[in-house]
Structure formats: structure tokens, C-alpha cells
Assembly symmetry: C2
Homo-oligomer: 227 residues x 2
Amino acid sequence: MDVMPVSDLSHAAQDYLKLIWSATEWSPAPITVSVMAERLGVRPSTVSDGIKKLAGQGLVTHAPYGSIELTDAGRAHAVAMVRRHRLLETFLVDVLGYSWDEVHDEAEVLEHAVSDTLIDRMDRKLGHPTRDPHGDPIPGADGRPSMPKGTQLSAAAAGNTVAITRISDADPQMLRYFTELGLAPDTRLTVTEHRPYADVTTVRVHEPERDIDLGASASDAIWVVAV
Amino acid sequence: MDVMPVSDLSHAAQDYLKLIWSATEWSPAPITVSVMAERLGVRPSTVSDGIKKLAGQGLVTHAPYGSIELTDAGRAHAVAMVRRHRLLETFLVDVLGYSWDEVHDEAEVLEHAVSDTLIDRMDRKLGHPTRDPHGDPIPGADGRPSMPKGTQLSAAAAGNTVAITRISDADPQMLRYFTELGLAPDTRLTVTEHRPYADVTTVRVHEPERDIDLGASASDAIWVVAV
DNA sequence: CAAATTTGTTCGTCAAGCCTAACATTTGAG
DNA sequence: CTCAAATGTTAGGCTTGACGAACAAATTTG
């Protein structure tokens, strides 16, 4: 049995696979039907039907009420979609002057429309970038996802000095706020303290030296590595 | 009643409108259901249904067995789609190094996926081009189509010296052939003779000076203006 | 650990696009 | 100017992806 090209999958199937893969990129907990439904903006019954169809195509394994896992074929398609998405985001920023909070929705649509040829040309024009504007790793053309590292800022120990590796692109408004604060991939900072019941994390950033208080949603969206 | 944005039209509706508009761009004969079906690769019944739906949305006028005409609203959407298509083609060639025979199919898909914002950014990056790689005029952002001029080479009088204004992008293979021959928009040539029953047109081109014989399909695909 | 709540599945329905087959209208050739 | 061929339309079905309602399983909690 041949591996289908990505373009033979329905738009919906592409979305499902990418979402399943993305859910496990930064945290190991398997994704659930209801979470998928919420992220995709559809009803759980729709996702349940969709997963069943993907299982029939051999792209995921799923027994009723069981966990949802990608097969090797499903993972290959998912990674291809993620590559498309992240290359598109990078292209929009680097070549067309988009800001990092504008690119997500545009890439979300385009990733279903661009050909493999176009992806290759963008990749070449960009010099084979390895990270997108939010710091997420761009899988290679060979389908090998580059393994991300790091932990959420909310989970980093106080006192550590760290560098931002990625910032979730899910919320454009939050990205604009981070821009104002001067927080971006590769920014270095020191975790000053976590205040438990206020759910506030305080960090110190240099140039200019300043302290920033971040709420739970913000410190969950920022991923860091020790430096 | 507000004018819908292009993006609210179905993929199919966008194709229909663009095709109806395009059919009358270079020749005044109104388009028929069967021609549309053939160009879109669907059955006439499908087109007939589709036209009826467009008529219901006020985008075309059409009585059963009658002619198909765009309304002002329909024309606006159609021109917007043509602008998208031609800007995309220009972008693919100028920015991503595509050759002119590769861009049509890619643009055909992308034109349904790009946002108005992306179109504007491409337009700006390209310096507001007025013609696409095949010589076709790119309508302005205000929706004003720039009026094309010219006649098919097959209809140009022998003895005239003319410049190519456009070459139909319908057939990639023919475009590659024209590339080999050194024929492109703005190439100047002299019509030597039409040989009626052979359906061959002979033209003389300079640098290097040479005579080229073109069959009917080729001399129909090339549009020229007196120079 | 049993009941209540949450989560997941199945089933019937709908709209969009497409198809084929049957039918209607127009056209154009003799 | 008639009738056959070409063209267009309608009707009925199929598939996909969505929905809600009803039901099933699993998990949480008292």
C-alpha cells in the first residue's frame, strides 16, 4: 500500500492529524475527543465520526472510548502539515512583513492550499529555516520533526536564568502584549518568583532591566530552556 | 443589502464568476453552460444548478435557456478573483522563481485561500504591477479592470509589425514551447503570411532574426497590438 | 462502591457539489 | 419550415462534513 500524498487527504483530515500531533509535541498527555472538538470549533460527535474515518484509513488507532494515537503514516502526514504551517508563518513574516501575531490564521488556511513545490521554493528562499517566528521547530523535508525542548515558564524553578524557546501562537492578542513587553523567542530572563495563589510569575529581563509579572495563561504560553 | 466579501462565496461560486468574466474579457461572445462545464471539468447539469444558485444570490442574471450575464455585484467579485489570480502568478514568478508555465495551476488553488490582506502585501511587495507574467492586465484594488487591447495573432493582417500583449496561460506545454521560441509578452514580430488551409501563420522575429511557423492553436493563444 | 456527572458514540438529518438519466428547449440543416 | 441534433434543465442519488438527540461508557465524588 502506497503512502498517500498529503494533498489526497480531506481538509478536515489534515486538520485532525495536525491537531493530534501538535497536542503531543509539548506535553505527553494524549488528546481527547472533546478537546479536539473545542479546538476545531465543531461538536464532539463530528470529531468522533472523523476519528473513526481516519482509523479506517489507517492514519490513527482508536478503539471506541480508547485513546487516539497516530500511526506512522498518520504521523508523517501530520508532520508534513506542521512543516507547511511553520514555513508559511516564517515566509509571511520574513518576506511579506507580517508581524508574528498576524500569521497564524493566514497560515491555517494556506497550509491546505499550497503545493509541495511551493513549500520547497519558500524553504529555499528562506534558507531552510529551523524555527518559525514563535520559536517552534520546523520539521525537515524528510519528515523528521526536530525535537523541541523546554518547559513552560510556569514550571521553571525560581532563581533560574533561562531563554525563551517558544511562545504559543494560539492567541494573537497575547502575542501583541508580549511584543509590547519585549518578550520574544531567544529573550533571556531570570525567574524571580512564583506567587502560588495569585498565579503570578515574576521575571527579570535585561536591556532595559525590568521586572514583569505574568499571569497563568501567559506563563503557560511561554516555554523556556536553561541557559 | 451589503456586498458580501469575496471570501463568503463558495469555492465553486468563485470559480463560476471568474470564468464568466474571463470569457468575455478577450471576446464579446457570451459564455454557455456547456463551455463552462468543459472548462471547469464538471457536467453541464452541475453548472446549470450552480448558475441557478448564483442567480438566486443576485450575482448573475439568467433565465432558463437564456444568456448568462454578470450583475454589477457578480462582476465585482469576479474581478477581485482575477486580481488575486494574476497577482499570485506575478508573485510566484518574481519572488519565488517560478517559470510562467508553472504558475497557473498553483494560482488557481491559492486564489481561494489567500486573504485580502495577503493580496495587498503581495501587491505592495511587487510594486503594484499592472500586468501578469502572461501579459494579462491586473485589475486594481478598486476593482477597476484595466481594459485589455489587442487581437489574436491569427487575426492580425499579414505585413503588420506588432508586439505581443498577452499569451493565454491555459496550456503550460504551449508556454514552454513559446519560451523555446523566444516568444513572450512584449516580443515584437512581423506577420509574414497566413496560409489558409494549412492554418499556419508565419511570423518574423528579430534577435536573432528568424521565421517561425505557428499553427492555429498557437496563433489563437497569442494576442498582439499594432506597434 | 454506587450514583451522578462528564465524556464519547451512534443515528438520523441537512446542505453543498457533484453525478446520471430523463426530459425540455433551441438551433440549424436539409 | 420541419425535425434531428445540440444544448440546457430537472429530478433523484451519492458523499462529505457538519449538526442535535439519544444513548453508552468511564470517571469522579460523596
